[in-house]
Symmetry: C2
Subunit: 146 residues, 2 copies
């Protein structure tokens, strides 16, 4: 029941780009230094984010990544769904492919659906802006544990 590093690092990265980016693109190299994640691993994760339309890229020198919307328009759910492979607590709720043949009689399915819902509701209502705003107070030096 753990979020993987992909999801956690993606959140770090998006927060970093939200803070340090403006009209100019933010290079992954800079993100890597600030977030303490290897450039090569970030490249893999960022590819998921841009494939899913959360970031757009500019190639070549002076390039980098730019947000496609304002921080309050990104839910953490958007970010986790793009990078984890489905955030449902059981795989049969992730998509039609994993949907089980006897879902209609499974005694525990309803319970798992309920759990999925409280998780989804929570991650969908929290935005990047919320997280940034709450941390504005303790403005100083920070480090991520997760």
């Amino acid at each position: 029941m753990k979020i993987s590093t992909k999801g956690r690092y993606a959140l770090r990265m998006m927060l970093d780009i939200a803070k340090n980016g403006g009209t100019e693109p933010v290079s992954l190299n800079d993100v890597a230094k600030r977030t303490d994640i290897s450039l090569k691993y970030l490249e893999q994760i960022v590819s998921l984010l841009s494939k899913n339309g959360l970031l757009k890229s500019r190639r070549g020198a002076g390039g980098g990544y730019i947000m496609t919307r304002t921080p309050d328009k990104y839910s953490v759910g958007d970010i986790l769904r793009a990078t984890e492979g489905g955030i449902a607590p059981v795989s049969c709720l992730d998509d039609e492919v994993n949907m089980c043949p006897h879902a209609d009689t499974c005694p525990t399915l309803e319970f798992w659906q309920g759990l999925d819902k409280v998780i989804s509701d929570y991650v969908d209502k929290t935005t990047l802006w919320d997280i940034i705003e709450k941390n504005r107070i303790k403005n100083g030096q920070y480090d991520y544990c997760i």
Copy 2:
């Protein structure tokens, strides 16, 4: 972000024992047949449940496992915590051992704590009785997908 088979099977097993047990112990062999889980794997999982006081055992012929309380006194959270190794979405929230050195400045910690809370609240408020009761209506043949 998936619950493992240990947690899911433990829930199946507890439901099975709740339904099929009374004053007499329920043997794992019977549980194995009904739930379609291998006896050997069930033995491992049940050991976690009895270590944590969720079941008590009677050894020898005619033995098996008996519930220590009524189904409405078991939350699904009890069962998952006994069998998964901590249900928090990030390991630094599981226990003091994994607690991170710079938790006081981590910008995302509060978000994860909030997620942990909605999950805990949900699994703690749902009991075995709730699940059994909801399935009493569709009384017939059933199969678990999960």
